[in-house]
Symmetry: D2
Subunit: 154 residues, 4 copies
């Protein structure tokens, strides 16, 4: 049973914009990278195609958000901390916290959220369906004191 995942990454030059910082839309790509690595760590894959995953063919996002506190720059290393905030039959709510490597203590760069829904094909239409067993079994909601720890810091 797991409710968190950490990923370390370095800012690419092509992720910056003319303001000299990471373009804000790229934080959503970083969240995706972290979510997909988390799924891999569970032994599954976010976009399985038509292979058998209980009929689930993907996890479209129904909500995405990010709060930006401090800029992230070229070549800087940062860490993303994924936490499972909520788990429903057909949906997962993820929280993401961004830190510059070496500044872990109390200086968040950004925090984000994704709400994703497991979908499959029903009568030729894409519909929400129960998530694959591997998520249902292995993934759990983060304890409220872990979630709350970030509330205080932020």
């Amino acid at each position: 049973m797991t409710y968190e995942f950490r990923l370390r990454r370095r800012v690419e030059f092509y992720e910056t914009d003319m303001a000299g910082i990471v373009h804000f839309a790229n934080f959503f790509k970083y969240m995706e990278t972290c979510e997909h690595a988390f799924a891999r760590s569970l032994g599954t894959i976010v976009h399985p195609g038509e292979n058998d995953h209980g009929g689930v063919v993907g996890w479209p996002r129904v909500h995405a958000e990010c709060d930006y506190r401090r800029p992230l720059k070229y070549d800087e290393e940062f860490e993303i901390h994924l936490l499972v905030r909520e788990k429903k039959d057909k949906a997962i709510h993820y929280d993401f916290h961004f830190w510059k490597v070496g500044e872990q203590a109390d200086r968040p760069l950004a925090r984000g959220k994704l709400v994703v829904v497991s979908v499959g094909h029903i009568n030729g239409e894409v519909k929400a369906i129960p998530m694959p067993a591997i998520y249902a079994e292995k993934l759990t909601v983060a304890p409220s004191e872990i979630l709350a720890r970030y509330e205080v810091k932020a």
Copy 2:
């Protein structure tokens, strides 16, 4: 005085992902395009560099979010409707509503929000400073009945 802007655009092939739809992060790029076109319509520019705009050199985002209702696909034309939800001394809150062209009536694709802050250099640091006069003068908050119309539909 203006509080809204509309932009029409077509989905590019490179904006899609292997799920066959526009990648979710691109909706934030679409909002940016619309915000910048709105600024242009006011006679100003979002990223002025060091030219005189009351010392404002840019508008970093402090918050971005999007709710996704229905997928948007390659080659489809869509419309973005920007509305000014809130206007402070140093910040603007924008709402964005996405529609497929030809479906205007009651089928939103997505809705988004950006909160942007006007910044300048103060003693070598980037700080929030009052927005340029052109925004202060020309931009106004959308009437609540306009903002509310979307609440009902969504």
Copy 3:
């Protein structure tokens, strides 16, 4: 019969990098946009899915290149000129020339090339197959004096 297409576009903020100019990889996206608009002008579409286009389901690139002469910046308007350099049974060679609007005469920004191949499904594999009739009928190779005009300028 046509062998050329022109597209005008403005640089988006999100297309710039920290060097303050359009990131070099984006010129390939600009070429794609122009190629797809050209196909649309012929009455067809580059990525038709499984609809009938003589069995052609897409046009993967086998070669792409770009020479960069001068930088392109945020908010600048530019024009792309597509020319058909070569046309084979299953492949098209496109040339692309980039100009800043208002500088048309003798100051190219960049020139690019794409070689694209029409493919379909044959026995479950993606293979090169003859291009759809609409390309075969409507698209022709640019006269050598048109192609040569750019050689001189460049």
Copy 4:
């Protein structure tokens, strides 16, 4: 003295397009990532800003190209092999070879080239200037038999 660098990476979901493969423009981002990691391995940085690197502030590309042999897909791991093909006073020519992890032997995915120029500010203009000493000292041209090995394979 070094003339090569290898980087391993996994395909991100956001790098795919609706054809189900890595979008062709992303191979140029992969080359950039590898070039920047190579510079880091030499103890320098491709985009140093205004810090002292012999006055060099960046390395704009003057040429970029890629030949695509086989598609690369979501979640696949691949390797990029950078080789220095040519070294001039103010320019470096890089070759890049892409392989799927596990297929190293004789099945290249793609090959690419970048020609980059070291630039600095001279009288307020960006001009080509001699490359920083660290490149001049540490970087050498790949032996012709190494470069040729790929010619045979491709």
